[in-house]
Symmetry: C2
């Protein structure tokens, strides 16, 4: 069909070359939708005619947004559905398109689990198996001896307990990977999840990943009060994984007292608990975390996020052994865009069928 | 009871302090068995009176053996059951106790899966996530940028295919961990495993680990001929894990041709296959492996074992990027002895009940 006949125009723009495969599959599946792709310069902050031709913006009925680069509603008069490449749309809540329109929106929640879970497990293993010694020996062409690498102190994760704070798609994939290593999984959610229904993951799930029905945890804990959280932290955790959204209730949720409880109740006589933060730096009281690492109350930490970011040169966290800094990029990988566009593809069918969208964001 | 009343004497010796917990649990469970522990000097090769009092040897009815340190049958006239801390007893087959007696023997097969699987997955993740760059940045107190770490080239393992050659307890725990990352698992065994019965793991299994019923693999392949092996290697594998015993039939089983087939059939357009060897160095033609790494036909390799061991200084494998050398210690860790003694503990009950032993070795 010619462009003029098209009733729908899907406009996708990214600061990189077109993800051909998934966009072609959208074109094939929806022949009545015109699909336009625009590669925008890296670092673009605002949509201007230089970046995206105004003709495309004028005609766009469906659009994507990445890194907060989002048009003013006046630029996109036909727009009825906006898909965000981010997991949340919190950074958009003051934007007129969010505030002043009823344009439907969906998020990319659900696609971050696999890369983040792999980053998490990598750090656990690098830490527990003293990988830096192995790497050093390789570079020195040196066959290691048991004594040198203290191999008899190395322990695997079978039977170790991981507590996961927040059980969304990321926490669920961490649980799946941990369970593959033979670990016990305990989870903590703000709201109680007593029924099979409430334990389900209702967002987008990459097939074969996560914990769709919430069957992996050995036990579920919940609450919004300190006492409930402290009870969870006292369950003998070898690992604590923080995967909570940041909000008023979760700011500095993990402080001095929480880390003390975690450390005091770790069953192991030889290991100290290991903390992983894949949420936001501000969820943890960073000074308290540093003290706990320095005193040995914690054995180590994997921090994809810090406060502030970037973590400044000279910050003592950089110098602390057994601290892994992820530079807030654990979620990214080469399949990021195709997985996000897969959500969009599924939603195009749902719009056609008049159904609720997957990952639909309700204002 | 006094020593004189004891009918049974269990003699355990190791080049390290007594693993108190498991030995005490044996003492409690079998009050009629006297349990003696002897710490022998590291590097002991032969049993003499200096190392183990001859009185204990004379009276021992049950005994353990580690690192091939094994008494002559004349030293242990009462011995009826010998438990080996190794997975196999191949290193003992020329020893008189093996050749000239009918003393029952059991192995520690089944306890190596968790540490080896963690070593395997660690190398996969370190390789795929470019960990050495992350480590370098940490040491330089540098927050990484996407561009620098080529984060968009990093890929996770969801949907990647691992082929496992040999599906014993180690291969099964690798399968379990891989499945936790969302990978497809294909396996290859010498004998066909068509029935649920034949797919089972009949040896010792650490609870919560492995694949007791053989349910993880998406498909099973088998054969003892080149054509069957080549067919398996052509299944589009991203990873090949070699976990076969070394024997005449498996020596240099993976050579130039096999690596070419593996490389040519890897579905990915951007990744080359990654080879992991946790069996014996001689199962792979090491020159062919080196060539495949140098030419880029393989993306990388994790080699716990090499030929010879130690790998000599100056060997080109040391200098090859993306090659991980394990110094043949991936199986070891702090729970090695207690897990092995757990097999012994279970067998003491079985002896009492007149049953076949777990991991019984039949001459």
């Amino acid at each position: 069909m010619s462009k003029d006949d098209a009733q729908e125009l899907l406009l996708v723009f990214l600061p990189l070359p077109e993800p051909k495969e998934v966009i072609d599959s959208i074109r094939q599946q929806f022949p009545t939708i015109e699909v336009a792709f625009v590669e925008i310069p890296p670092g673009t902050l605002e949509i201007t005619d230089d970046v995206i031709p105004s003709d495309l913006l004028q005609r766009a009925t469906i659009m994507t947004t990445a890194f907060g680069v989002i048009p003013h509603p006046d630029q996109t008069p036909q727009l009825k559905y906006l898909h965000s490449f981010s997991a949340g749309v919190d950074h958009l809540i003051n934007h007129p398109i969010f505030r002043d329109t009823k344009i439907r929106m969906s998020t990319s929640s659900g696609i971050h689990g696999p890369p983040i879970a792999e980053w998490v497990v990598m750090n656990w293993l690098v830490y527990s198996r003293m990988y830096t010694k192995i790497l050093e020996a390789k570079n020195q062409q040196r066959w290691l001896t048991f004594k040198e690498v203290r191999q008899w102190e190395v322990d695997d994760h079978v039977g170790q307990t991981v507590g996961i704070l927040g059980y969304g798609s990321i926490g669920r994939q961490v649980a799946r990977a941990a369970s593959g290593l033979g670990m016990r999984v305990l989870v903590y959610t703000a709201q109680p999840r007593m029924t099979p229904e409430s334990k389900r993951d209702t967002g987008f799930i990459i097939p074969g990943t996560g914990d769709p029905d919430g069957l992996i945890p050995e036990a579920w804990y919940s609450g919004r009060d300190k006492a409930s959280l402290h009870n969870f932290l006292a369950q003998g955790l070898d690992h604590l994984v923080v995967s909570l959204p940041l909000n008023a209730g979760t700011t500095k949720l993990i402080g001095k007292e929480e880390l003390e409880i975690l450390s005091a109740h770790c069953d192991s006589t030889t290991r100290r608990p290991f903390l992983t933060n894949i949420s936001r730096g501000k969820v943890i009281d960073q000074d308290a975390l540093l003290s706990a690492l320095q005193s040995g109350a914690l054995g180590g930490a994997a921090l994809d996020v810090t406060d502030p970011e970037p973590l400044p040169v000279g910050h003592p966290l950089w110098e602390q052994p057994n601290v892994h800094i992820g530079s807030h990029m654990s979620a990214f990988g080469k399949r990021y865009w195709e997985r996000s566009l897969e959500i969009l593809r599924l939603n195009l069918t749902r719009i056609h069928e008049g159904k609720e969208l997957i990952n639909e964001y309700h204002r």
